[in-house]
Amino acid sequence: MLEIYPGELEVEAIFSRWYAWGAKRNFGAWVTFVGTVRAEGGIEALSFDIYEPLLRSWFDGWQQRAQEVGAVVRMAHSRGNVPVHTSSYMAAVFSPRRRVALELLEAFVEDFKANAPIWKYDVRNGERIYAKDRSQPLAGSGLLDL
């Protein structure tokens, strides 16, 4: 349910697979979020590092939380460079009920922003520059700063 791809996401192919998966399982409501790289600040791409073991355990926690309300979460994220106007992030919630789906997606995406172990870089002239000003410290940061 957690998919990691090199480079930009093939949004339509992923969407089609997810749709077929959910329709067969009798989910009535399906919500998706797609994040696309905006052309701004003169960047040519964004680039991402992922720490997969922690991302997987974070995601598994959400899957459990979804399961308790009869829902399923899915997510796809890029690793490496993602050019402007292409997509780096997709998240989805399948549920028997629409309200559950919408609320869960909102909570999931917010928590993703705060807690997923992913690092973002602007790419300018082929150079990767850490997007420090847009990054958030994880809970417990500074522990080793004696």
Binding site: F48, Y51, L54, I118, W119, A131, Q136, P137, L138, G140
Partner: protein, 73 residues
């Protein structure tokens, strides 16, 4: 020996150190010029679990990772 990895933008090779707990590890890392600025911004995971206690014991073969501020999506 404990393996320490530096994730994302820190850009430092992993290292092997002797440390019996996180407090001792912190002392060792503090001595590294390149790391000093990062320590106050990094979260810490031991064997892929985030920890928040400096007295967390370390054992031979443990893997510690330093996680700087994140921004997915």
């Amino acid at each position: 020996m404990v393996r320490v990895e530096f994730l994302g933008p820190i850009g430092k090779e992993a290292m092997e150190v002797e440390a019996k707990d996180l407090r001792e590890l912190a002392q060792i890392l503090k001595a590294d010029e390149q790391l000093r600025g990062w320590l106050k911004e990094c979260a810490v995971a031991v064997n892929d679990r985030l920890v928040d206690d400096l007295d967390t014991k370390l054992h031979d073969g443990d893997r510690v990772v330093l996680l700087p501020p994140v921004c997915g999506g």
